[in-house]
Amino acid sequence: MTSKFKHDIESPLQKQNRHKAMEAIRIINTLKDDFKNPIESMNYFYKLFEDVFCNQKSLHDGKLKVGTMCIQIPSEIIYALDAVPIRLCNGFYSDDEIGSDYMPQKSCPLVRSTVGHFASGNFSDKPHLIYSPTTCDQKTKAGVTIESFGYEVVDVDFPRVKDSEISREYFRRSIREFAIDLSKKTGNKLNKKSLKQSIAKIGYAQSLYHKLCEYRKKKNIVISGNDMFFVTNAFFFDKIDSWIDACENLLKECKQREDENLFVNGKISPRIVYTGSPPIFPNYKVPIVIEESDGIIVADETCSSNRMFNDRVAVDEWFVNDMLDSMADKYLKACTCPIFTKNDDRIRRIIDLVKTYSADGVVYQSFAGCTVYEAEQRSVLEAMEKEGIPILYIESDYSPSQGGQLTTRVEAFIESLKTRKRIKK
């Protein structure tokens, strides 16, 4: 009889998980149910996010899990050493709240929530050690805070000038050091064969992303921008082979949908290039508002998607050191992160994306407190104005309270783009 009335008191950990699960499922359900013509093979990704973020399912038991703080740590090397890379950038408001106790009030929500995630230690796949490239100030200092929670954090020197030959040499050395360090920690030796194979594997994964993007260049679009963010965000933590299979299925379905004329855009839906601070699950606040207001994200320039997948490693002589150097080059030279001193590359990239994907406008999101994106806003806006490309600059954070104001601004922007399109017609 007594057992009928027995109830467990929720532990703080359980409570946090419940809150995170609520955040996660809300976004998953929005994507699943609120948009027209859902893609069946996206269910793999919805399920994946639900498993990991709502049910705390571990994907990589028995493997050495290597946490990375930014995209500049080559996953190729991690895979070649038989470990698993897990990108730790976080998008949960629940974690953001915990993290605000450890980071300055004005710091960016992405860093705060990443720190918060570590502070709670509440992982479905807890990283054994963390490599932190010295990108922006906040990430760099976050590494120190995370270390104080008892994690092993290794700084990977990353230069903040990109054009110079000194930087190139510097980062090449830095990547070699990283490879040696990880090799010691895994107890595996880096060899030619395994490294070449993992370059090919990541390259193949990238090629699938490129193929998906081909569909987004067309007049009628088969896959929404939010779904694409799901796909690319899944790459942060998914098993690479399953991810590859899922993308192959997705590609097949895209082809099929094209033949059946099943599209996600309306006749006059404005095509948007998305840039700035990265949408990381479940913080899809801005992208969802865009697509709910009848905009369609056709391309992006963020480190959670395009910047992560676009550029590829080319090797001339397949020796270990040559491969390492080529990787270092790719992760440094092609990077359009705003932490770099001069950053015309980012502007050129956005303009090129607008042209190649026939976009009607650009949405530039900057997390409040992300100084580098905030600082670059002016120059990007100027450049877009020069090119005659409409752009909307939005400052946002992870809090759920901003909805109304955000929706009004985005809707107005999308409406103005529609009017432009109508007049042009």
Partner: protein, 328 residues
Amino acid sequence: MLSRLKRTVNNVNLIRFRNIIQILTFILFIYGGYFAIDLGSRLPIFACPYNDTTSGACYLIPLQHQLSMPTQVLLGGASIAVITGILVFLFWFVFLNKAWCGYVCPFGTLQDWMTKLRKSIGIRYSTYTQHQFEKLSKIKYIFLFIVLVFPLLMGVGLLGSEWSAAFCKICPARIITPMFSGDFSQWAIDFSSKTAILLTTLGVVFAGLFFIGSFIKKRFFCFFCPMSALHYIFSKISIVQFKKDGSKCTRCGDCYAVCDMQIKDIADNVTDTNILRDDCILCLKCIAACPEDDVLHFDIFKIKAFTSTKEGFEKRMGIEYLKANNDK
């Protein structure tokens, strides 16, 4: 039909294609004489006439001989011969531009074979630092100066006859190419005069350095080649051009990473459409290694003959066949 052809060309396995061309042209220029082939002596490559079995000869030797004529002769009757010489040289050059270096020059091919040897032993190549590169890359203009100005000084009587074809005396191709038809007689120092001792000693030293250098460094000699400098002066008039569309370039540096000649501009310059630099040998490895569509392209008569494509990149980097080889 046309698009299918284009696709096949853009997906070509450049390394294999180049190997075949290089072997064929090496045989042609080293042993062509046996087959009574004579392509004249105005060729824009190091096919050395000191090798008796060559089927054609390097333009630098007649150029030096002509320029060393007494000034009155040079500006008088002989000027026609000089001009026709240049025109014949340009005629050859207009077809291939610097691709003569990357695909035809037997001396260049030889260096690629040294590279292959190094690779097969498993030794990694060396590179210059950017600073060294900038300095070394100017040496070819000093050599070009020797090719063009020393003969003129002879013509006006400021230099003696032992300076005749001074560059050829120090050129390692004179010593090395005849070896391939069994002639090792050029490995010698000429003791007839002080100048001859100096020049031929330099020649032997350079020949030795050539083997060591090209074993360590890809296309070692091409950094110093005066023919390459001469090419560059005329490169704009060729029917083949090497172009870049900077607006699509992400400056990922893949082209720079594979460049035998370490040309940084190829990756970093996004404003010039003509991206041919004086060190370039037009091997087109950069186009093959470019992962973006249409950023780098090799044009013939302004038509894109070979252009960078995502698909071609994937094929050449062995990405496409991954599934078949790896997983299943």
